[in-house]
Symmetry: C2
Subunit: 226 residues, 2 copies
């Protein structure tokens, strides 16, 4: 039932509002170590999850779930799972790169007072989902949009967030009781921060450099060879 | 070379700034038909792409490219590719659901004055990428974060955006000259809007309902069966 009366006027934001959105985007960091111990109040957590839940989703399937983790024993087990996987990861680098890898702190699982595991239920919309017919990853991508909404909302609340991706899925599923059919998309660490890096931590620490944006933009067609 | 002097104070946003971030998140829509014909100035496109380029990326690999498409012939060919795929998609639904599917407008490829194809170069960081060692999709997920940044920045600029996912990859790659090894993550339609749906269009049009957030949140462990 199309209902055009559901359309409402949509002006551009004021300059102040627009600047605030860009401030969130440009000052957001992947936080691993600056977490303060103060707990995040429930009403703030709720706002962050509402922001995530208002992400776009393919066919409006809203495939996400959010497991909030504050229990210390659970976080200890997750940190152990990270440590095991991170040893495997470090072994994939060699020489100076490996030493540098090992010097980086890549998670705040125990230090951050709140962890959130974000999952994707790929069967939520039934077998055929509007918009997923030709790209089967669209439900995973929707879930990532929810993560990015959560990240920007957290920044606006004075909360830092880090995304930890160095796990064996089976370990996390076992610790958190996640069914096999559910896909883990992100494991997040959150806590208040009173300082953040001015540039991405991996840039500050010399791991990689910022690419010039001009090199990444093409007009009307891919440029260059394959 | 760790350089702690790169840490800067990071207070919470003011209430006004915080509200602006939430306004972008909660009023963002997947736009298919409300595009106005006015071109988007180059400096505004630049701001949108800077926002995308400041997304988090695994190992700071920044795997994305952005093909901006304004050429009418190219957009016509893309629209034809969509139409072919959408016929295949419609055939996957049956009965009343199929009629309803066919009644939905799912793209603004010709109507929106700007299209952007966002891609992921999975080899940009070399074979071993920090943070991608145990989840090979992390570079794709980084690229999705760039799309969501772009979407929220567009909302703040008064620009609507729609994500079109109903294509055969090979068609888009052929039209845009994208090499085989590059993955297409998103095809986006952008244009100024002066009205937007108050709720997601697929909710307004009765395709799916908003799920209660409480049902999607678990504490410390997955709840319920598999």
């Amino acid at each position: 039932m199309p209902n055009t009366s559901m359309l409402a006027a949509a002006q551009p934001f004021t300059t102040g509002e627009r600047d605030a959105v860009y401030k969130a985007i440009f000052t957001r960091r992947d936080v691993r170590d600056q977490f303060l111990p103060e707990p995040i109040p429930n009403d703030v957590i709720r706002r962050l999850l509402e922001a995530a839940h208002n992400a776009p989703s393919v066919g409006f399937m809203q495939p996400w779930n959010f497991i909030t983790i504050r229990n210390q024993t659970v976080r200890d087990r997750v940190a152990d799972a990270f440590a095991r996987a991170n040893e495997e990861a470090a072994a994939m680098f060699t020489g100076e790169r490996q030493s540098r890898y090992k010097s980086l702190k890549l998670e705040g699982i125990r230090k951050a007072p709140l962890n959130i595991c974000v999952t994707c239920d790929r069967e939520r919309g039934g077998k055929v989902v509007l918009g997923r017919t030709h790209n089967s990853s669209m439900d995973l991508y929707s879930t990532v949009c929810a993560v990015q909404n959560l990240w920007l909302a957290a920044r606006a609340e004075g909360i830092g967030m880090g995304w930890v991706s160095i796990f064996r899925d089976a370990d996390l599923k076992s610790i958190l009781g996640i069914p096999d059919r559910i896909e883990i998309v992100a494991y997040l660490c959150l806590g208040y921060v009173d300082e953040l890096y001015e540039r991405p931590e991996l840039e500050v620490k010399g791991w990689n450099r910022r690419l010039p944006l001009d090199d990444l933009i093409f007009e009307d067609r891919w440029r260059g060879g394959d």
